[in-house]
C-alpha cells in the first residue's frame, strides 16, 4: 500500500507526509484497535483457530473498513445527523455483502468455516467506531488511510493470536505440520525426525477453545503495557 501511496503523493491531493504515515503506523501499537481501543474483539476471537482463517478475515476487514471510511467521508457533509447511524450501517452492510459474495465464489470452504463471522463484520465495532471517530470529520484520503491503518492493527493482533493457536493447538501453520508427530512418523519411527520437529509433542486442545484467545490477548496486553507503561489505564 505504501508504494501506491507514494506514487500518488506527486498528485498533490493525495499527499503522503508525516501525518499520513502516522495514520498508518499509530494503530499498530499506540492506538491499536484491539488492545487499546477495545474494538472488534467480537469477531476477532472466533476466527483465530487457524492462521488461514485469520488472514482471510483480516483482509476482509481491511477492505471493508478502508472503503467504508472512504465512502462515509465523501458523504459526510450530506448525511443528516439524526439518521447517520443507519446510513453508516447501510454503507457497511453493502460492503460486507460484496465481501461475502466474493468469498463465496472464490473460496467456498473458507467461506463455510467463517460462516456468520463474515456477516458480523457489519457490527464489528472497529468499522463503526472509526466511521464515527474519524471519517465523519476528515477528508476522504486521510480517512481511507486511517481505515487501512486500523485494519492492519487489527489484522496484526489477529495473526499473532492465530499463530499461537494454530501452532500449539494443531501443531501446524497455514496447514503445514510444524511440530508434533505426523501419522507417517508414528507408523514408521525409524524415519528419525520424520517431517517435523518435536515428534513427542501432543496437540494442546485448550488452544483450540475460544477461551485461549482471551488468554493470548490478555498476555499481549500485558507485554505491550509493560513495555510502554504510558498505555496503562488502571480502571
Amino acid at each position: 500500500m505504501a508504494d501506491t501511496a507514494q506514487v500518488k503523493a506527486k498528485e498533490g491531493t493525495f499527499a503522503f507526509g508525516k501525518k499520513e504515515k502516522q495514520l498508518l503506523s499509530d494503530p499498530l501499537n499506540d492506538n491499536n484497535p484491539i488492545t487499546i481501543q477495545v474494538l472488534g474483539i467480537c469477531s476477532a476471537l472466533a476466527v483465530t483457530t487457524l492462521l488461514e482463517k485469520a488472514l482471510v478475515m483480516a483482509i476482509a476487514v481491511i477492505f471493508v473498513i478502508a472503503f467504508a471510511n472512504l465512502f462515509t467521508s465523501l458523504l459526510r457533509k450530506s448525511i443528516p445527523k439524526e439518521v447517520r447511524m443507519i446510513v453508516q450501517l447501510i454503507i457497511i452492510a453493502f460492503l460486507v455483502t460484496v465481501v461475502e459474495l466474493t468469498l463465496k465464489a472464490a473460496n467456498y470452504p473458507i467461506f463455510k468455516e467463517l460462516s456468520v463471522f463474515i456477516g458480523l463484520i457489519i457490527t464489528n465495532c472497529i468499522v463503526m467506531g472509526r466511521l464515527e471517530a474519524f471519517a465523519m470529520a476528515n477528508r476522504p484520503w486521510r480517512s481511507f488511510l486511517d481505515g487501512i491503518g486500523n485494519g492492519l492493527g487489527y489484522g496484526f493482533i489477529l495473526l499473532i493470536i492465530a499463530f499461537f493457536r494454530e501452532l500449539f493447538g494443531k501443531g501446524s501453520l497455514l496447514g503445514f505440520k510444524i511440530i508434533g508427530a505426523t501419522p507417517e512418523y508414528i507408523i514408521n519411527t525409524t524415519a528419525g525426525w520424520g517431517q517435523t520437529f518435536f515428534g513427542w509433542y501432543a496437540n494442546n486442545n485448550l488452544m483450540v477453545l475460544p477461551a485461549s484467545a482471551m488468554f493470548i490477548v490478555g498476555v499481549i496486553i500485558w507485554i505491550q503495557r509493560s513495555k510502554y507503561p504510558r498505555l496503562v489505564d488502571a480502571s
Binding site: 467480537c42 447511524m85 447501510i90 457489519i122 465495532c125 477461551a211 482471551m214 496486553i221 500485558w222
Partner: protein, 210 residues
C-alpha cells in the same frame, strides 16, 4: 418443553458471550461497575427478544426463496437472501430507536438509568449474531422468541458476573501492566472455560461450538 430447552441452551450452554465470544466490545467496555452492567444487560434482553421474532418474519416471508411472498405471487422461486444483512441491521437499528422512544414515553426513570447504553446496542454483535444463528439453525417462530430471550438472559448473566468480579479485583494486587483491560480478558477466558463445563469439554469434538 422444547421451548424451555432452547431457552436454557441459549442462556447457559451456548452462552453468547462466554461460549461464542459475541458482544465482547460492550461486555468489556460497560462492565466496570455492576450498576451499569445491569442496565445494559436488561436492555439487551429486551432488544434481542424483540428483534429475533421480527427478523424471523422478515427472513421467512420476504427473503427465503421457498416461502417468501414475492415467490408465491409470481410462481417462481425468487431468492432474496442476499438482502439479509441490510434488512436485519435496519430492523435492529430501527428497533433500538423505537425501544428508546417507547421507554422515554412510558418510563422516564428507566430511560435515564439506561442512558447511553440503548443506542450502543445497535452495534452489539450478539444481537445480529443471534439473528444469523436463528437463520442458520432453522428455528420456527416460537423457538426464535425463546432463543432471543434466552440469549439475552445469557448476556445479562455474563456481564453481571464479570462486573462483580472486576469490582472485587480492584482491591487485589494485580501487576500494574495487567490491571484493567488485561485482567478482564484473562478473567473472561477463565469464565469461558468454566461455562464450558456445562456442556463438558469434549476434545474429540471441539467444533461443537461453531
Amino acid at each position: 418443553m422444547e421451548y424451555i430447552n432452547i431457552f436454557i441452551k441459549a442462556a447457559f450452554i451456548e452462552n453468547m458471550v462466554l461460549a461464542y465470544f459475541l458482544g465482547m466490545c460492550s461486555y468489556l467496555a460497560v462492565s466496570k461497575t455492576v450498576k451499569t452492567a445491569v442496565g445494559l444487560g436488561a436492555a439487551v434482553i429486551f432488544v434481542l427478544g424483540i428483534t429475533m421474532p421480527i427478523n424471523w418474519v422478515i427472513s421467512t416471508y420476504l427473503l427465503e426463496p421457498s416461502t417468501n411472498i414475492i415467490s408465491s405471487l409470481y410462481g417462481d422461486q425468487i431468492d432474496l437472501t442476499f438482502l439479509r444483512f441490510i434488512l436485519f441491521i435496519a430492523v435492529i437499528a430501527s428497533t433500538v430507536q423505537l425501544v428508546e422512544m417507547i421507554i422515554e414515553k412510558v418510563s422516564p426513570t428507566l430511560y435515564t438509568s439506561l442512558g447511553i447504553f440503548l443506542p450502543l446496542i445497535t452495534v452489539n454483535c450478539a444481537i445480529l449474531g443471534g439473528s444469523l444463528f436463528m437463520v442458520s439453525r432453522e428455528y420456527d417462530f416460537g423457538e426464535s422468541v425463546f432463543f432471543g430471550f434466552g440469549s439475552g438472559f445469557g448476556f445479562f448473566l455474563a456481564i453481571i458476573a464479570i462486573a462483580a468480579i472486576r469490582e472485587k479485583i480492584r482491591y487485589s494486587d494485580v501487576p500494574p501492566a495487567l490491571r484493567g483491560l488485561g485482567m478482564a480478558f484473562i478473567l473472561t477466558g477463565l469464565m469461558g472455560i468454566a461455562f464450558m463445563s456445562l456442556m463438558g469439554i469434549d476434545p474429540a469434538n471441539l467444533t461443537a461450538g461453531h
